[in-house]
């Protein structure tokens, strides 16, 4: 018999890290939080669109139209903002991430057609909802289901990447990667945790919409939008409490120990405070044309996302401690390239802000005119 090691842990890349770990982690945290925000908005918007379709109360038609128009843009930024976290996870934890990806390879690659179909469905819905109104909800429902499956595959892969002890057994049985990692008890709870922000993100979008509608003089529609937004928003903290308790209870004892009087507790506290800030300003937004409150509520949600992301990474480091110490990986810093990247980012963001300040009010003006026409048509 040929005796092999029980652990199939690849060696880290010979080139080492191109920047200190904290830089790569910081970039990863920031961009992943943005991605999660866009992802939660898109999922929340889909669910609320379907819900308003069947509920069909006063003001729901406008909400449905708003989400239907926003979904292609939301999806676009889910994908675009998903690129850098995918890049930095490969840099920081490449040997874990590549291995787990191959182990579920057949399903991992299915993410691409699933996202493609969902994205195309959103455009189909947006461009055809008036010409072919029947079963448009089903188009969005199919896209939502596909995206929910994609999320599950992501959580599965990243959870599997933290369990090298299981890899060889899985690979031996499924070298084509045709099976997901269902045996891990933390997968469903982690999945729910990352989706728990969906109603808050979509809800706060309705608060923004309501504030603009107030400014344009459509008080009834504005109120309906903001009330629905706030009610939807409140679902998120409830889901988060359930998911967080479930995540905690499904962790091994040594990981649970992390949760007690550690820097992670501070992180958790900041996250809870951010969430409370988000809820408070969401409440204050209702019935007002003020844009500051939805902004502060959005920032609160983003703060909560950042804390969740950082917390998740700390838990990952604890999980992989027996297999990989990222502090031991050499740093061959590419300072010049890092500076070039940061410069490009700052210039691009500044340019986009300037362009948005000039163009978005005009786009909003166009939206207002279309809304006026729609309402006038409805009255006649």
């Amino acid at each position: 018999m040929i005796v092999v090691g029980a652990l199939a842990m690849p060696l880290p890349d010979t080139l080492g890290y191109a920047a200190p770990v904290w830089v790569l982690q910081g970039l990863s945290y920031f961009t992943l939080s943005l991605h999660l925000l866009a992802m939660n908005f898109t999922i929340g918007a889909c669910l609320l669109l379907i819900w308003t379709h069947f509920r069909n109360r006063a003001g729901h038609a406008g909400v449905k139209h708003f989400f239907g128009s926003s979904l292609p843009l939301g999806m676009s930024y889910v994908i675009t903002l998903g690129v850098p976290p995918l890049l930095f996870v490969q840099v920081l934890y490449g040997q874990l991430f590549y291995s787990s990806s191959v182990l579920i390879g057949a399903l991992w690659i299915l993410v691409i057609p699933a996202v493609l179909i969902a994205y195309a469905a959103f455009y189909y819905h947006k461009l055809q909802r008036e010409a072919r109104p029947r079963y448009q909800w089903a188009v969005v429902a199919v896209a939502t289901t596909l995206l929910l499956c994609v999320g599950y595959i992501y959580v599965n892969n990243l959870t599997l990447s933290m369990s090298p002890d299981k890899w060889l057994r899985i690979y031996e049985a499924h070298p084509g990667g045709g099976i997901l990692h269902h045996g891990e008890p933390t997968v469903p709870s982690r999945y729910l945790l990352f989706l728990s922000g969906a109603f808050a993100a979509a809800g706060v979008a309705l608060l923004w919409r309501g504030a603009f509608l107030f400014r344009w003089g459509y008080d009834t529609e504005a109120n309906q939008s903001q009330k629905l937004g706030f009610r939807a928003f409140l679902l998120s903290p409830m889901l988060w409490i359930i998911a967080a308790s479930w995540v905690y209870s499904s962790r091994p004892e040594d990981i649970k120990a992390m949760f007690v009087f550690d820097s992670t507790m501070v992180l958790l506290a900041v996250g809870v405070v951010s969430a409370l800030v988000a809820i408070a300003f969401a409440y204050l937004s209702v019935g007002k044309r003020n844009l500051l409150f939805p902004l502060l509520s959005s920032l609160g949600i983003f703060g909560g996302m950042v804390c969740t992301v950082v917390f998740r990474d700390q838990v990952r480091l604890e999980y992989i401690k027996p297999y990989l110490d990222i502090a031991s990986i050499p740093v061959n810093a590419q300072w010049g390239m890092l500076a070039l990247f940061l410069m490009a980012l700052v210039v691009a963001l500044a340019l986009l802000v300037v362009l948005m300040v000039k163009v978005l009010p005009k786009i909003a003006e166009g939206a207002r005119e279309r809304l006026e026409k729609t309402i006038a048509a409805g009255r006649t």
Binding site: P10, I112, L352
Partner: protein, 467 residues
């Protein structure tokens, strides 16, 4: 083998990458060239009597452009990334770690181009002419910036130039010998693709032959620079290629005269013939613009898709047997390890990391050697089928051939000792339902050589002693 190998039945991991990449390439070239087209068409419309009509048409162009490039282009772009990390994690890891901030800059460019495109498209009715021009111009600049970055990484794979594992200078790797000719070729190709796409949208114009004629005349002009200059740029690109790559293509071309059409030659010709057909087709359209139908315009666009298919396959094959030329073989073997005899002759499965416990010389032994060394490029019975390639082999031939397979220049060297080779040879025979015991292959070889060798070779014993 540092990473597990994704064992995809019938189509193989390489074809998964190729399918996604070929679809993406056409769209990504359109996404950049289309930006230039919109900018120039905006300027052109200002100088025409029926400028508003042209701008209305341009909005239709932008609608198709936006949906096609953002949905299919963005998703297949990420799809390539997913596919390469599955097909070749070792190579992907090297590209990611070497060029992490180049990738990040490319993302910044992409974020910029996407956001600007939305501002241009959704602000169409309300933005000033000046703003629309600025947005169209900025879109093209950021989109071309993303090409500039990705081109450096792509050309690095075939012509890494002065970059080595000892000299990991990003400038040496990025501004490699193939960088500039490739950048120029791609820039001109994307103008051509933008023109072809415009011909499709122009062919939709009905009821105004004059407008249709003018739009098609304008669109076909976008093919002229590429048709005139790309042949010379290809010659420049050719001289930057490694000798073995040019030898491979030359050998294929020479082989045609002897009645043998190598696969790389077929793809090379497919690219050239597609390019020629597009130029001829565009010329005919320019002469008779009113007769062009949607079907004809789409057919021309699809020929471009075949052109990309040919060019992409030819480029990939020219890189054989490497994924990073001269550095890393397609099956994850590092070149510096390949020249280390002790490393290469170690019992393969003891060092491969990703194999279960198997009995020495069993079918499983051969199967796992096959999976970890061969499946990165070959399938058993589909794409690059190993069954087809070994159909007239016998066990002894397979056993001997494996030892020298790298001498042809398109395969990496075999890793492992005599037992590994015998197990693999027996496994290959089993794919044809010819059951041959690996131990018999070894015994026959020993007899043939007339030397009473032990079954396990010296390298294996040395390893055991070390352990």
């Amino acid at each position: 083998m540092n990473y597990p190998v994704w064992d995809v039945p019938f189509i193989g991991s390489g074809l998964v990458v190729a399918i996604i990449a070929i679809i993406h390439l056409l769209i990504s070239h359109l996404a950049i060239g289309g930006g230039a087209f919109i900018f120039v068409a905006e300027l052109w419309s200002d100088r025409q009597k029926n400028g508003q009509q042209i701008r209305d048409w341009l909005h239709e162009y932008a609608t198709y452009f936006l949906v096609y490039t953002t949905v299919f282009g963005a998703v297949t772009g990420v799809g390539i990334w997913f596919a390469i990390q599955l097909a070749n994690p070792e190579g992907t890891s090297l590209l990611i770690h070497q060029f992490v901030f180049a990738w990040a800059i490319e993302w910044v460019m992409f974020l910029g181009e996407l956001s600007i495109l939305y501002l241009y498209y959704y602000g169409w009715q309300k933005n000033s002419r000046r703003m629309q021009l600025w947005l169209a111009g900025l879109y093209f600049v950021t989109a071309w910036g993303s090409l500039f970055v990705i081109n450096g990484i792509l050309t690095f794979m075939l012509t890494p130039g002065a970059w080595t594992l000892a000299n990991t200078s990003i400038l040496a790797g990025f501004f490699n010998p193939g960088f500039l000719p490739s950048l120029l070729i791609r820039t001109l190709v994307m103008f051509m693709v933008a023109g072809l796409f415009a011909i499709i949208v122009a062919a939709r114009v009905t009821g105004d032959d004059n407008l249709k004629e003018r739009l098609i005349g304008f669109s076909t002009k976008w093919l002229i620079p590429g048709a005139l200059i790309i042949p010379f740029l290809l010659l420049w690109y050719w001289v930057t290629l490694p000798d073995s790559a040019t030898d491979l293509i030359r050998g294929g071309v020479v082989g045609v005269e002897g009645g043998r059409l190598e696969i790389i030659t077929r793809y090379f010709w497919l690219a050239l013939v597609s390019g020629a057909l597009i130029v001829v087709g565009a010329l005919l359209i320019a002469i008779k613009p009113r007769v062009i139908s949607m079907t004809g315009a789409i057919a021309l666009f699809l020929i471009a898709q075949f052109g990309f298919l040919g060019a992409e396959f030819a480029r990939e094959m020219a890189r054989k047997p490497y994924v990073i030329y001269g550095v890393l073989y397609s099956n994850g073997l590092w070149k510096h390890n390949a020249v280390n005899e002790n490393y290469m002759q170690r019992p393969y499965l003891e060092t491969a990391r990703w194999d279960p416990e198997v009995s020495l010389l069993s079918r499983s032994h051969g199967e796992w050697v096959f999976r970890l060394q061969c499946v990165g490029c070959h399938t058993r019975d589909g794409y690059r089928s190993i069954e087809d390639r070994t159909s007239d082999w016998d066990a002894q031939f397979a056993y001997r051939w494996l030892k020298t397979m790298h001498e042809q220049g398109v395969m990496p060297p075999f890793q492992g000792n005599r037992e590994d080779r015998a197990a693999l040879a027996a496994y290959l025979m089993s794919l044809h339902d010819r059951e041959v015991a690996a131990a018999d292959i070894l015994a026959t070889d020993t007899l043939a050589r007339g030397v009473a060798e032990p079954v396990r070779d010296e390298a294996s014993e040395a390893m055991e002693e070390q352990q």
